[in-house]
């Protein structure tokens, strides 16, 4: 990329400081968002050209499934504190609030979840390509899981969504759980394909 010595030699009439200032000035120029309508036009063209999978006709629940899972995670944020006294909970979903008694546990737990999620992504990437022929039920299940992961990622990456630390952690926890399911499913699939 830019910055090799030949390029440097060709910079005529600008000192290094001037060039740095200019580059920084250019880089700092404001970005512009396209109007909202642009995506609608793109989606319409994509659908018309058959580039996007038809929505809702075959399996109407895919996107709704993702939303439902995301909603259930949000619901969990509300309900779990009220259920804290229930002894049979398999795993404590909430952690002490940040700043409680100087504890930094929530941040550590979140980081651990992120690392775990990354590791599962690597595992998934390391698996062989999906077989050409798959059972319809497997395809549907994989699709549902990926939809749910996409819905969670959408929430986590949407700058307009304000989440507390607890909510963020719950989303990540759910993401890890779904990724585990996906990895197990793909592993089983790969094993079947091997025989």
């Amino acid at each position: 990329m830019a910055g090799n010595s030949k390029d440097e030699e060709m910079i005529c009439g600008l000192t290094m400081d001037e060039r740095d200032e200019l580059r920084q000035g250019l880089f700092d120029l404001p970005d512009t968002m396209p109007p909202r309508v642009v995506w609608n036009r793109i989606r319409e063209q994509g659908e018309a050209e058959g580039l996007l999978r038809a929505r809702s006709s075959v399996r109407p629940s895919t996107w709704l499934t993702g939303l439902a899972i995301a909603a259930s995670v949000v619901l969990a944020v509300v309900l779990v504190p009220a259920m804290n006294s229930t002894p049979e909970l398999e795993q404590p979903v909430t952690q002490p609030l940040a700043g409680d008694a100087g504890s930094d546990l929530p941040l550590t737990a979140l980081q651990a979840l992120m690392v775990q999620s990354q590791r599962l992504e690597s595992d998934l990437r390391a698996m062989p390509e999906e077989p050409q022929v798959m059972r319809a039920s497997t395809v549907a299940t994989i699709d549902d899981i990926e939809n749910a992961i996409a819905a969670i990622d959408f929430q986590l990456n949407d700058p307009s969504v304000q989440m507390t630390g607890e909510e963020t952690e719950l989303f990540w926890r759910e993401r890890v759980r779904l990724m585990k399911s996906l990895v197990q499913l793909r592993y089983a699939q790969a094993q079947r394909a091997a025989f």
Binding site: E18, L124, N147, F154
Partner: protein, 198 residues
């Protein structure tokens, strides 16, 4: 330095996009729409043309994402498509005006600097944004590709179908026009400008 490089998209989303999933494409669009639109707007200076180019870019992504193998970052790949579309547009616009890439620069002579909004004197300097917009298409494009997107002259030359020295000389000339806007070394620059004029 490119803003495309800062954007990370989960591999699972890309896989879903490769299968034509509308939601995955929307996520990719929301992540990259702003840098793509900004780039297209810088190249064309026209919001309407930039919107069309954003549409063309993301349709191309839909067509080609299944071939994306992840050897390069997704952002670099998308940027390449956007740059290619924008250059194609500029080329066609130049063709429509019966101009070649080389002739474009000659539209503006040194004496025209003031009429194009870029003063030769620092105290009369307009802001960088306006000055950039007032550069001829070719030099503005090269400045953006080189200094903001980080492409080398070799890469720029290949994309534009010109020689490396063409890219270098256009950049150098653009620098000369933008230089009065810079605060660094104003006195020294002004003195050098004055000497040059003799």
């Amino acid at each position: 330095m490119s803003k495309f490089a800062d954007i990370q998209i989960d591999a699972a989303i890309v896989r879903r996009a490769a299968r034509g999933d509308a939601r995955a494409h929307e996520i990719i669009y929301r992540a990259f729409a702003t840098p793509v639109y900004t780039l297209c707007l810088r190249f064309t200076r026209s919001p309407a043309h930039a919107e069309d180019l954003v549409q063309e870019t993301f349709i191309e992504i839909m067509r080609s994402v299944a071939k994306f193998r992840g050897e390069a970052a997704l952002g670099s790949w998308i940027r390449r498509i956007a740059v290619s579309k924008a250059l194609m547009f500029l080329r066609s616009a130049w063709t429509a005006r019966s101009q070649s890439l080389g002739e474009n620069w000659d539209e503006v002579t040194a004496g025209d600097a003031l009429s194009h909004g870029v003063s030769r004197h620092p105290d009369e300097a307009m802001d960088l944004d306006a000055a950039l917009q007032n550069l001829p298409d070719v030099s503005r494009t090269i400045v953006w590709l080189h200094d903001v997107e980080g492409f080398t002259h070799k890469e720029i030359a290949k994309m534009m179908g010109r020689s490396e020295s063409f890219s270098k000389s256009q950049l150098s000339r653009a620098y000369q026009r933008l230089r009065p806007l810079l605060s660094t070394g104003d006195a020294e620059s002004a003195a050098r400008d004055a000497l040059r004029s003799f």
